[in-house]
Assembly symmetry: C2
Homo-oligomer: 139 residues x 2
Amino acid sequence: MSDKTNTNLKEAGLKATLPRIKILEILQATSGTHHHYTAEDIYRELVINNYDIGLATVYRVLTQFENAGIVVKHQFDANKSVYELIDAEHHDHMVCVDTGEVTEFHDETIKRKQREIAAEHGYELLDQSLVLYVKKKQK
Amino acid sequence: MSDKTNTNLKEAGLKATLPRIKILEILQATSGTHHHYTAEDIYRELVINNYDIGLATVYRVLTQFENAGIVVKHQFDANKSVYELIDAEHHDHMVCVDTGEVTEFHDETIKRKQREIAAEHGYELLDQSLVLYVKKKQK
DNA sequence: ATGCTTGCAAACGGTTTGCACGTGT
DNA sequence: ACACGTGCAAACCGTTTGCAAGCAT
């Protein structure tokens, strides 16, 4: 898997350096439920594992990953960004306003409707951001 | 109309002060196409009209308006917020990535689908944010 | 009169950048 | 070797806040 990781980086035109490899590994960690990380989440994780990697580098690497199409940057909250590995199936998010829990979903009907709407206005749909703010239904 | 303005403020539990009245008037200005303002847009407008109102006050007033349900805060771009008067019909936005132009739209199909999806996950839909990033279709 | 508002300037917090040093190929 | 990548600390920039003075009621 570390082979695969290096390959990914090379393919993206990025030298396989320690910081980039470690950050990519953290993003790929499937153990926790949350695969949405802030720059500091990742930085903290690095510090815990005794890697001497600066926060500035984390930001730089994440930006490079974003440009390389390895990662998407989301803005669920007004004043901090979270990053997420891009997987094959691109999905949207619902955020619980009480717990902050993030659930992913995908819906083709909505996607299709969006393209229609853009087209009606003479536009082509390049990208889209949909976030539902929800709370647990109590009965 | 300045009567109406004061009434709005009073109803919202806010004293009718000069800064609040003027900021509300700017938000209500229907002349320009863009009714999406950054705090500085509004500040600049105030300066042009020779009002001695600080940027900090603009932020404070906009936040109060937001809490009072007079205004919504959007985050089309990562590092600046825009504010918009809430009108009866609540709508979504498409932003042209080339020109920055913002077009509003409303679609009931999408809204309904969203409620369904939230419900499927045991959630209740409180709020939602949908932004389409588009570009002019060239032929 | 008195409590909410405001202007100013300083603080904040996430993110970016300049620079000299370190590292991958 | 040499270009590219990195750590550190300082800069940035939109936004928030403490404080003393100013208004609306």
